[in-house]
Subunit: 636 residues, 2 copies
Amino acid sequence: MPIVDEPVHPAWLPPGAWRPITGRRVRVTGEGLLVRTVLAELRAAGATLVETDGDVEFGLGGDPALDGEGFEIVRRDGRTLIRAAAPHGLLHSLFHLLREAPAGRYRPAVDRRMVDHWDNVDVHPVMGQVERGYAGGSLFWRAGEPRRDLPRVAAYARLLAACGVNAVALNNVNVHATETRLLTDRLAEVAELAAEFRRYGIRVHLSVSFAAPVHHGLPGADPLDDRVVAWWAEATRAVYEMIPDFGGYLVKADSEGQPGPFTYGRSHADGANLLAGALAPHGGVVHWRAFVYNHRQDWRDRSVDRARAAYDHFTPLDGAFRDNVVVQVKHGPMDFQAREPVAPLIAAMPATRLAVEVQATQEYTGQQRHLCYLAPMWSSLLRGTDGPAIAGVAAEMVAVANTGDDPFWTGHPLAQANLYAFGRLAWDHTLDPVTILDEWTGLTFPGASPALRATLHAVMDGSWQTYERYTAPLGVGFMVRPGHHYGPDVDGYEYTPWGTYHHADRDGVGVDRTVATGTGFTGQYPQPWASIYESAADCPDELALFFHHLPYGHVLRDGRTVIQHIYDTHFAGAAETAEMRRRWQTISDEVPTELFRRVAGLLNEQVRSAEEWRDQINAYFLRKSGVPDEHGRPIY
Amino acid sequence: MPIVDEPVHPAWLPPGAWRPITGRRVRVTGEGLLVRTVLAELRAAGATLVETDGDVEFGLGGDPALDGEGFEIVRRDGRTLIRAAAPHGLLHSLFHLLREAPAGRYRPAVDRRMVDHWDNVDVHPVMGQVERGYAGGSLFWRAGEPRRDLPRVAAYARLLAACGVNAVALNNVNVHATETRLLTDRLAEVAELAAEFRRYGIRVHLSVSFAAPVHHGLPGADPLDDRVVAWWAEATRAVYEMIPDFGGYLVKADSEGQPGPFTYGRSHADGANLLAGALAPHGGVVHWRAFVYNHRQDWRDRSVDRARAAYDHFTPLDGAFRDNVVVQVKHGPMDFQAREPVAPLIAAMPATRLAVEVQATQEYTGQQRHLCYLAPMWSSLLRGTDGPAIAGVAAEMVAVANTGDDPFWTGHPLAQANLYAFGRLAWDHTLDPVTILDEWTGLTFPGASPALRATLHAVMDGSWQTYERYTAPLGVGFMVRPGHHYGPDVDGYEYTPWGTYHHADRDGVGVDRTVATGTGFTGQYPQPWASIYESAADCPDELALFFHHLPYGHVLRDGRTVIQHIYDTHFAGAAETAEMRRRWQTISDEVPTELFRRVAGLLNEQVRSAEEWRDQINAYFLRKSGVPDEHGRPIY
């Protein structure tokens, strides 16, 4: 294969992906910006635009029940007829045609499918240009200045639209001094980006600091102070004057050092409602993150449990939020570990609009150096395989972006599939991750051979579970190097204020979160999950050490002891990475050379890192437990 | 007491320290720069300079055996007569008079007493302006530019001279790109600093990169390449043209990523002799650091022992170095831990000029937030209390500087005593650390009350051993947070490539460095120490885990088990810091307010940190060993 000649990889929209359109006679009716986008895409794809009798016909006037984004595909007499109630539905239908979607009615499962960027304007001295970013710099800013690479932003918006995303937050939830100015004197930079996203039906949102009024001269930011209310009203009016379809604000308040209403003795509802009030006249929403916990915990005090924090803080406020407040909850009660139970808060806020946040950027899942296809995890959480289901409860889905100015967008080329799969699952949570991978493969590698498809399934379908096997065992989490979070350090967070512990001693390991003898966290779940998690006999093995402190000799549901399970999974996980590397070598002729080489190099690192994880985890637990491996494999 | 009104603290040369001179009739004979410095100091001190019959007389013409820096004090008929063979001796004698030195002959124990700055010109992205600096910025550079605060440099030179230092290396041994230019087009900055130090008899040295010729356009830096030889000869000639008394080069080669002769298949002798050849015609020396080890070690391989590295690398080269090469050895075989045995290399290079390096900057001894008076450690090493003596073997003494642009020079005001004590011990290794503290107290706090003196002894004399008690136990070392090295992290380095391990498991802890069953490191020592260290029964308790992997139940020489010793010392060490804090509060009226407050604030942090150390270390070993504390104290 030739070296990719595009400076930027086309991801899931290469020219070949447009084969279902190219050369067809297509008729489009309707008007407006998004209809013009559809027309431009069709022209670029080599369709013949006709006034009558198209092979494919896009038109408005469909069933109003399809709402703003839904559409219907009808196939009749060899022709494909599409009807939507609004132009946004026509745009979605276009991308569905690329996937050769069968006839039927299509509507997104949730109204807002959002990608949150943790991009900084200034380069942060510790976190850099993109916080927890593993794909190069920001698409939007570089070293304090706007990048103004608008064609690239448009290409990005197009990719997001093509997988179903309709909202994007542009900047980091940790809002530093310079970034507060995006809301005010640097708003033109936001407007410029919004214009690109708008063409693909994506509204932009901004992360704002709760202390923004203080940055702009007010003595305080008390949400019940009239001057503060007026300041937000005026600032928000100015935003909408420049960006009429602005999405709203995203706020991380009273969390990990960010300011918030607690400073003024006010509640999160007071804080969120303040911003909601400013946004309501303009149709905007505030996303208020529920990631609130004490990050200065005393590790000595085992009665405090960070996992409890979001529920304890927010359930008393259910019903107290204005209609245009969206409480944004991380999918798990801790922080985007490779395995966590679903956050109990999600099942406990019936009177509140919830967004559930997943992390496409692989902070804790290999940092886009490791191949880790996350759709199976997200699918399992949505469907409620091991806990209360997210689907049907969450009103919105949000992913922290894994994209940057890397030529492959995502650092690891195959990590593109995570972003794609997020959009697709957010649109339709019933989709099977294996099917999504097939879709993605067909678009990304047009005409993919059966061998290539089989290899991608072999290296990707199970890669999340492989990653889980060689990292922290049995749901206990963390064990990463503090700070940058890459690579193993079993005790790295064990004696810190962060609330992320494993409590391993010579007899056992795990966190007792039961009601009977532990922190009582299991009691935050509805039945039957409260009882299932409470019982060491019934708890899923994958979460055994999240909920229980177990002796090394405890026999798990799969029949193995805790210690032998640790050894076995770690030897297996590392071996699986070596097999992934071997399989990848077999398709060197089937993918572009640059992409092949990038992945091959990363797989070398993944194998090395997985072996390091295996050996550190196994050595740690052998030294502590004294129990030898049943199979006599090398442990150091 | 009033707030200190000097912008910079006068350290051990406040006006009151000059009481033995002030108002006296003093006669000085002799000429030259250093005699002019003596005259200027006398005038500033308020002496009356006379032509005849002084109460104090300084003159040249002393016994030539006193060499360049020695002098004799004679007291006769109420007069004090000083004779030196050279002006430098007169300068030293002046400061000895401040200490009310008794009559006698004085000569430094070693010819060169040097302070090495690890100052960077540019701010390093990780290490900052001063690598391992805990006293603010550099006195010499700020953000890539020379500071040109020459009065402050002169004040610093005066303090160094007053404790006996006669050489200073200006820049970090890790020489980054900008810093290589100090040797060439930025040499004028060095010359400007050298002029200030020269007035106090201090020669300046530069850290250079072995790859400097490559930075300046040559294709390589092979020490046997004639072009490289010619490059160094010419560069060095240019240095001496601008700085005729330039001291020489300091080199960290083939160590922690720094370039060196290994790149070209040459030995350290080849490398050092190259630079020595360039320096010899001008009377300069090269300090060649012996800190060479594999910092990419595999933690799984217990046969490799970093402690062995310097000896293994350098002893084969004994006798191969030119006369003006000084091999500079860290005092211990690892890296400036609070407790290490003396480096065996020091006793194994009879045909090589050695400098022994200690670390005044408190990288591993509390980072100038903890009070840790280091003179007792240095004294013990010099005298050979627990191993071969350094005194009599080392031809030079070097301290890594603990100074910066902090108003108190050293961050922790009482850390000034470490720099002072270094100079004094380097001059006379027989001095008692308690006596040195008295000297320092008398100079720094003129007219100090008995209560102040008693309190300073109470909080400082034993502070090194207190620090040792609450940190890594029994000589095993490290257990610090990786990277910044502050605060506890027992396993922080246990599974890293750095070669710094403790090998704790559920049965025992420590590194087996014996010949019989371990790495063979004990065999690098001369007798009787090889046998003493080899035997777990004879090895000093303080080094027990440095040399042996011992069961938790092993009974130490002091009658306690290893595990109980760990618990006891950690409870004791933390309690001692609380007592230090209490004692400090009793002398609030005896020291300047700003100094009092600074120390009081730092003691709060020291108490907090010591309790954190106590609880993490004790919890770690309780969890691992399962052995409870005999006294039932709280362990988490």
